[in-house]
């Protein structure tokens, strides 16, 4: 596909978004629409003794109030385990649990009615520490106990490796409960249709799975549910699982009216999905020349109240706990533990930031102890294609660990770090550090990872690309358009996209796991190929040009056995009644066998990035500013440079938030950071200057050579910031975020 050139085009959705004309699902209104209110639990852990809705029902304007008994299908949802009730009947497990649902003619009445729902609780002890929760006498969040998942992966003999090591770095690390803080909170409208079916309009990351989960909740045929989930006002993983959809679906079916909800930021922060906080205990052994000998890692994942994707996240974390370094002896153990600390689920990075913060920190500490520099120690240990990973599988696809490391070493920031570190203020210290990360892409082995796309040649000779994958800001739809246009040899303006809806677009799997661009590249290429076959078939039927003839795209048309035809001509001839349709299906290549005891592992295709960070620490206050970040990223192939840089900018900001600012504080099950004045995310004043180094080592299994990049761009920056604080001040940061007070206390350990 070397003949395809990707131009730097403006985002296909730029105008609508810049002008404010783009309608998100939460912007929609329908005649006769009601407003929903979720009656949330009063306690983080309690038995529900009774729910009395009579006073709420009596309020003027209230149309219905639902309790658990009103759930028509299965009262639960969850991508892996449907253990989260839509409406809790007998027990609540976190402050965001729903005990009743109200639909009323106005939002105000719905809220008032919610306050009138009387719930009798029997309060239970709160489980708020994952390690305590593992003890046999700990109160149980679920009847089956507090262990959501336990995984142990071993290779070689870790104790032997540690004994042979010249240096063993042993530490415990802790990471924050990051909130996605998408601009659009969890919201949508459920619309009951005249034929008894339901249309769900709600921004989410996978319409086709929502459809199935909603069918289970409502107890109806999935075909009676249409989901429209595109565009999304930000996701980051927080809209991978269902959020409000089950509740408004039940209300709409019950009332026969459209029902809308838009969560407030406060409600979103209390009830919404978060990143799992991890406690990571590590012992990493090195030979005196820096060679890694062993890595022993135990992770405790604070799962929160319900499963969602906590298991796969734990496993992805364990897959990456020794990165892609050459470690002969490993022991990666993990516990995903239920607590009453909110709910945690998918979040950009999916467990990898948590473990790499620990590993990369140990790496720099070993380097310092051994008198090696951070690049040398890493270079010594990075794996190459064909070698065996730390969890025992052979790396068969491209590995760019060395390449991104070399590239970041050559960055202006790293090369001139001594100059960047100069400051004339006696109280300021600057430091530079680097880090690198692989990020497994796709869903992993054993989980069907599939993508489909249609390319329709429309009546007018333009194209409609039908693909499930939603646009939630990444710029993927621009990329999809460019890939389709490139293959078809037409201007991108001739391709429009229908995405993220169960009707009219094709299931291409979830927009998660750094998989959208890669999946789309192969699904679109397959659809394009099929379109050529369809054109040949149509020509053959009419002109007997031969069924096996090959049609190739060229200059706004195709060369065919009947000569060159423009797409307009082809459309005129063959697309008038219904479009000629190229259908493409693609299944991700996966490992041939699973890592024993670790569902989903290993991953087959990885993304790679290395980042260097410059920080300035105020030793008087502990304030840390991230001044500059250099990112070396392997895109496989860059389709749209501006979007790649946009992902880097956003990923760095989100990584910076993880490293310096963000944490949902929960005390005894109560969220204390309920809005954006207490839940601190970086502002435009806080984000650093960027240096971009884009590598293009085509991923051999993508028809267009592309790799996913959405997650990996936020990962290395996290350890890099923590290690830059060390470079600046000499203290090691073991718990993130490195807030001013935390850094101050590290600098002044005498302060009580």
């Amino acid at each position: 596909m070397d003949d395809i050139h990707f131009e730097q085009i403006a985002r296909v959705d730029a105008q609508g978004k810049a002008c404010g004309t783009t309608a998100y699902m939460s912007d929609l209104s329908f005649p006769g629409m009601l407003y929903a209110w979720f009656v949330r639990s009063k306690y983080p852990h309690a038995l529900v003794k009774s729910v009395d809705i009579s006073k709420a029902m009596a309020l003027d304007g209230v149309v219905t109030v639902l309790t658990a008994a009103d759930v028509t299908g299965f009262n639960g949802f969850g991508i892996v385990n449907p253990d989260m009730p839509v409406i809790c009947g007998d027990k609540v497990r976190y402050m965001g649990d729903t005990v009743a649902l109200v639909a009323a003619t106005t939002e105000r009445i719905a809220e008032q009615a919610a306050a009138l729902v009387e719930v009798e609780y029997e309060v239970l002890p709160v489980v708020d520490d994952p390690i305590e929760a593992l003890k046999p006498d700990a109160p149980k969040v679920h009847d089956k106990g507090n262990v959501c998942l336990h995984t142990l992966i071993t290779k070689g003999d870790v104790e032997q490796g540690l004994r042979e090591a010249d240096v063993v770095i042993e530490h415990e690390y802790r990471t924050p409960r990051q909130a996605h803080t998408a601009l659009e909170t969890e919201s949508g409208v459920a619309v009951p249709e005249a034929d008894g079916s339901l249309s769900m309009y709600a921004g989410s990351q996978y319409a086709f799975r929502d459809q199935l989960q909603l069918a289970r909740i409502l107890g109806i045929n999935p075909r009676m549910i249409r989901v429209y989930s595109n565009p999304v006002g930000g996701g980051f993983g927080g809209k991978d699982e269902l959020t409000i959809q089950g509740g408004i679906a039940l209300l709409a079916m019950k009332t026969g009216k459209p029902v809308k909800v838009v969560l407030s930021r406060e409600e979103s922060l209390v009830s919404g999905w978060k990143r799992h906080p991890f406690i990571v205990r590590t012992r990493t052994g090195f030979k005196s020349d820096g060679t890694m000998l062993a890595n022993d890692v135990t992770c405790y994942e604070d799962k929160g109240a319900y499963s969602s994707l906590g298991g796969p996240i734990l496993n992805l974390a364990l897959e990456h706990a020794s990165s892609l370094y050459r470690v002969p002896n490993t022991r990666h153990e993990g516990w995903a533990v239920f607590t009453n600390n909110g709910i945690c689920g998918a979040f950009r990075g999916f467990g990898v930031p948590q473990v790499l913060f620990a590993l990369e920190s140990n790496m720099d500490e070993a380097a310092e102890k051994l008198g090696l520099d951070p690049v040398t120690i890493r270079r010594k240990n990075v794996l190459y294609q064909g070698e065996v990973s730390p969890i025992g599988h052979t790396l068969r696809t491209g590995v760019s660990m060395d390449l991104v490391l070399d590239a970041v070493e050559k960055s202006d920031l790293w090369q001139h770090r001594e100059e960047y570190k100069k400051t004339d203020k006696p109280w300021l210290r600057r430091g530079v550090a680097l880090s690198l990360a692989p990020q497994g892409a796709g869903l992993g082995v054993g989980i069907p990872d599939y993508g489909g796309a249609y390319i329709d040649l429309d009546r007018d000779g333009n194209f409609t690309l039908r693909i499930g994958l939603v646009e939630y800001g990444q710029g993927t739809h621009t990329g999809f358009t460019q890939m389709a246009a490139g293959l078809l040899h037409v201007d991108p303006s001739r391709v429009r996209i229908v995405a993220g809806q169960t009707e009219g677009s094709v299931d291409a799997g979830p927009a998660t796991a750094s998989r959208s661009m890669y999946t789309a590249s192969n699904a679109i290429a397959a659809a394009f190929h099929d379109l050529g076959v369809k054109v040949a078939g149509a020509l053959d039927a009419k002109y007997h040009t031969g069924a096996d003839a090959v049609c190739e795209a060229k200059d706004g048309g195709m060369t065919t056995p009947a000569g060159f035809r423009t797409y307009e001509e082809l459309a005129q001839e063959f697309s008038q009644e219904s479009p000629l349709r190229g259908e493409g299906y693609f299944v991700w290549p996966t490992a041939d066998r699973e890592i024993p005891g670790a569902a989903g592992l290993p991953h087959w295709i990885y993304s790679f990035a290395a980042q260097a960070a410059l920080v300035e620490v105020n030793t008087l206050t502990g304030e840390t500013h991230l001044l500059k970040v250099a990112t070396a990223l392997d895109t496989g192939r860059t389709v749209n440079l501006q979007q790649v840089e946009g992902q880097i900018d956003g990923g760095v900001a989100q990584g910076e938030g993880f490293a310096l600012f963000e944490d949902t504080l929960i005390a005894k099950g109560q969220v204390r950071t309920k809005n954006l004045s207490t839940y601190i995310i970086p502002t435009v004043q806080d984000v650093p200057e960027h240096e971009y180094i884009i590598l293009e080592n085509p991923e051999g299994t993508s028809a267009l050579g592309v790799r996913g990049i959405g997650e990996v761009v936020m990962v290395p920056v996290i350890p890099a910031v923590a290690l830059a604080i060390h470079d600046a001040t000499g203290v090691w940061v073991r718990q993130l975020p490195a807030t001013p007070e935390r850094v101050y206390r590290l600098l002044h350990p005498d302060v009580q």
């Binding site: 105000r108 809220e111 008032q112 203020k425 006696p426 109280w427 105020n618 030793t619 008087l620 206050t621 502990g622 304030e623 500013h625 600012f661 504080l665 204390r672 950071t673 004045s677 207490t678 601190i680 970086p682 502002t683 435009v684 004043q685 806080d686 807030t739 001013p740 007070e741 101050y744 206390r745 002044h748 302060v751 009580q752």
Partner: protein, 293 residues
């Protein structure tokens, strides 16, 4: 849920005073609304009448007259940050205003609101204190003047009576030989309530020494506080730019603050941090007139 309220937009000061008299403690003033609307949303406004001052043009000004700087209560933080008069004659106030919230908040929020709100974290308050500002308070009965240091009685509380409003703040214009400054510690670079803040005023004598110092700390006590002992320490400094000496003087601040633990920081940390905050801001300012030896 925001409750239902009666709303009046005063066209001028006279009307505002009349409405204040009429509704007394049933009413709440609203100027930029950046504090009031947050309280409303949280259900913390007990009053049921809003009197909007934001259209009272005669309260929005910054001017200097015969050595006195007058700042109208409805002047916004954006007005203050950009005011050449303040940059010259009351720099600490311009600096403090420029660190409030972000551009949107600075465009709406007013200095009168910041003062009347009486938060111990209000950023303009320490600046106004070190500038020796006086608060002009008006009611239908007339005008009274209260030195700002006496204005606050506790967190969120002041000497303002129900029918009174703040019309302006005034203070002696600073000139040559006078240094003022402001420092702020927050969770991030912008849009952050101060974990601690500090303002200072130094008058430099002919011998280059500090002959008069005023220092005030915010967010480290129930109200913004003056730090008299620390001021004395600065007046003892030899006129040489020495980081250790300046930091040593600032150390006294530790004895003059009484912070609490809250979501933003612990008391212990706040005590430590205000010392650094003062040392850093004072060092930067003194570097303009002192030299290392």
């Amino acid at each position: 849920m925001i409750k239902e309220l009666e709303y009046y937009a005063a066209r001028d000061l006279k009307e505002a005073l009349k409405l204040a008299e009429q509704y007394g403690s049933r009413k709440r003033f609203l100027s930029g609304g950046t504090d009031v609307t947050v309280r409303l949303k949280e259900g913390l406004v007990k009053e049921d009448v809003i009197v909007d001052l934001s259209h009272v043009a005669e309260l929005r000004f910054v001017r200097e007259e015969s050595g006195i700087v007058h700042v109208g209560a409805c002047a916004t933080h954006a007005d203050l940050s950009a005011s050449p008069i303040l940059q010259q004659h009351g720099c600490a106030l311009a600096l403090a205003a420029s660190r409030v919230g972000g551009p949107q908040i600075r465009n709406m929020g007013t200095v009168g609101g910041n003062v009347a709100n009486a938060s111990p974290a209000g950023d303009t308050i320490p600046a106004l204190i070190v500038l020796d500002a006086v608060v002009s308070i008006a009611s239908h009965k007339g005008i009274r003047e209260v030195p700002i240091i006496d204005f606050f009685t506790g967190p969120g509380r002041s000497v303002l009576a129900a029918e009174e409003l703040v019309t302006e703040l005034h203070f002696p214009a600073t000139g040559s030989g006078e240094l003022t400054g402001f420092g702020k510690l927050g969770a991030r670079q912008a849009m952050t309530i101060s974990t601690a803040n500090v303002a200072f005023y130094f008058r430099i004598g002919d011998n280059h020494r500090i002959v008069e110092a005023r220092i005030a700390f915010g967010s480290v006590a129930p109200t913004v506080v003056r730090a008299h002992k620390t001021e004395q320490m600065f007046c003892q400094l030899p006129p040489v730019l020495s980081w250790d000496a300046i930091r040593g003087a600032a150390q006294m601040a530790w004895k003059e603050v009484a912070p609490i633990d809250d979501l933003r920081a612990t008391a212990v940390y706040r005590k430590e941090a205000v010392v650094g905050l003062l040392a850093e801001a004072a060092y930067e300012a003194l570097a303009s007139c002192w030299h290392e030896r």
